[in-house]
């Protein structure tokens, strides 16, 4: 069962306010259908105003769809009392929206309190989460939001959304207002957290690099519709149209290779016996792996995880295929468009 499924979801703001059903306004979201599997990190990517926020906010019913249906864990969202639905979906926004009159700990405790958790459990969970987002509890528990930096506030925002351990998280440009260096740190932390707790995440951004770094699946949106939905590597190698190609900057092969992690093109199996033991990290990008292969003048290298355990192999041939494919795609004449 998919964690979230969108079926022909359409949103027209102010629909029906005028006479007739068609208000004459363009749909903010039009006829969107796709499924998000359990534990997947899905990024909604697209230019400003294309309907990312609108689509995301329909999941927790902060915006009501005009037509179509959304199922969460197999239940239509309107079959669940709205407050209950929202308490079981984590929600993080760019402006963070911490409650300024509450301490960090009180902010994180809001949903557990609404759910009636006993105090001791809530306190334990708060400390656990502060550790998870790298804010030492002893130091930060009693601070007010005003006493935190932007990056720290967003960490608390993420901890607050995760407080009651929701299976689903909605994140609307959570790092959009944060400087580039801190943003990269937060992305790394988010990835690390995601490996530990593996939630189903819908993450909105218009930053291509951020999308490629974080996503298991990317839904590319344009003027209210999803134009392509798939793995980052598939979007890079098989862009559905010129819009996707231009958005992802598919023309620059090296740039693309530097954005794809080795694990995405890793093949299974061990190195052939007798080959020198060259290794690359699974989290390294393909461009770095290519450099390693060239430097050692070898055809393949073992892929290892953080602990140094071999989990697969990467071959020069596969990298060349990926690259050649992109070049071919990028150079292909604009047939029919």
């Amino acid at each position: 069962m998919p964690a979230i499924s969108f079926t022909e979801v359409t949103k027209v703001f102010d629909a029906g306010k005028n006479t007739g059903t068609d208000s004459g306004r363009p749909a903010a979201v039009r006829d969107v259908s796709f499924e998000v599997e359990q534990g997947q990190f899905v990024v909604l990517l697209g230019p400003s105003g294309c309907g990312k926020t609108t689509l995301m906010r329909m999941v927790n019913r902060l915006i009501e769809p005009t037509s179509g249906s959304i199922d969460v864990e197999g239940r239509e969202i309107h079959d669940i009392p709205v407050t209950e639905l929202r308490r079981h979906i984590g929600y993080v926004i760019q402006q963070v929206g911490l409650f300024p009159h509450m301490t960090v700990a009180q902010n994180i405790a809001v949903v557990p309190k609404l759910l009636g958790w006993p105090k001791s459990r809530t306190e334990q969970r708060t400390d656990e989460l502060l550790d998870l987002v790298a804010l030492p509890p002893a130091e930060y528990r009693k601070r007010f939001p005003r006493q935190l930096s932007g990056g720290q506030q967003q960490r608390v925002g993420i901890a607050r959304a995760m407080a009651a351990d929701p299976a689903i998280m909605l994140m609307d440009e959570p790092f959009g207002a944060i400087d580039a260096i801190t943003r990269t740190d937060l992305q790394d932390e988010l990835l690390a957290i995601q490996r530990k707790v593996s939630k189903t995440v819908i993450f909105v951004t218009h930053d291509v690099e951020e999308a490629l770094r974080l996503a298991d699946r990317i839904a590319v949106m344009r003027t209210g519709t999803v134009v392509q939905y798939g793995r980052p590597v598939d979007l890079l190698t098989h862009p559905a149209d010129d819009f996707v190609r231009a958005l992802l900057g598919t023309n620059d092969v090296f740039r693309q290779l530097s954005l794809v992690p080795v694990r995405a093109i890793m093949e299974s199996g061990q190195l052939s016996a007798g080959k020198p033991d060259i290794t690359v990290q699974a989290d390294q990008n393909v461009r770095a792996a290519l450099a390693v292969l060239i430097a050692h003048d070898v055809q393949e290298a073992a892929v290892v995880d953080k602990s140094g355990k071999t989990i697969g192999r990467v071959t020069l041939q596969r990298i060349l295929d990926e690259g050649a494919h992109e070049v071919a795609e990028a150079r292909a004449p604009d047939t029919g468009t």
Partner: protein, 212 residues
């Protein structure tokens, strides 16, 4: 300054001081009981703002003596009359501050609360009122000082309080009595102001620097 009146009439002064505080506290409690729901209603339906604030504004500009005299026709003399007048005066300041306080709550924060699954009532009680409280309390502070001042005049219609010293002193040409009365009213106003500032200091929203 001649405070001889105080040494000879300590218990009278204390009684009137007590009456004055009572009149002020009753007024503020009743006034808040009206202003908070009215202000909340206005913040829900902003279209009500202009007519209601205009109405309270008009009441606010009526000279206090005229209003007290007018009410004598309907409720006679005494404390009830004074309290009705004082409560009516306070509405302008209190309602305005309730509305402004609620309006100034960051909509992003309210959106976050909604997204987390708070009901409209919970959002009101846990988020909006606490965040609006410093502004509301600011209104209470101004209203308290105004009420203490106007309440002196209420002595004319037998509502008790420190005004009695002033009017008695004027009638009897007793300067010391007037000075004691004036000093006591001023002292009360200053104390009320300080007290409410201290309360404000301890509000979570003020402590967190959430509003200013």
């Amino acid at each position: 300054m001649d405070f001889t009146y105080f040494s000879t009439h300590q218990s009278d002064v204390a009684t009137q001081f007590g009456q004055h505080i009572e009149l002020t506290v009753i007024t503020l409690v009743l006034a808040m009981a009206i202003a908070v729901p009215v202000g909340t209603l206005i913040s829900r339906f902003p279209i009500l703002y202009t007519p209601l604030i205009a109405l309270f504004g008009i009441i606010y500009t009526i000279p206090s003596l005229a209003l007290l005299a007018f009410l004598v026709v309907y409720v006679g003399i005494g404390r009830t009359n004074a309290i009705i007048a004082l409560v009516a005066y306070a509405q302008f300041i209190l309602v305005r501050n309730v509305v402004v306080g609620l309006r100034n709550v960051d909509p992003i924060v309210v959106d976050a609360a909604r997204g987390m699954g708070m009901s409209p009532l919970q959002i009101m009680v846990k988020i909006k009122y606490p965040l609006a409280l410093p502004v509301i309390l600011g209104g209470v502070r101004i209203a308290a000082v105004a009420t203490i001042a106007v309440a002196t005049i209420a002595a004319l219609i037998d509502a008790g309080g420190l005004g009695q010293l002033l009017f008695e002193g004027i009638n009897n040409g007793n300067n010391s009595e007037i000075e004691v009365g004036a000093a006591a009213v001023s002292l009360l106003a200053v104390l009320a102001d300080i007290f409410l500032r201290v309360v404000d200091h301890f509000l979570p929203a003020s402590r967190a620097g959430a509003t200013h």
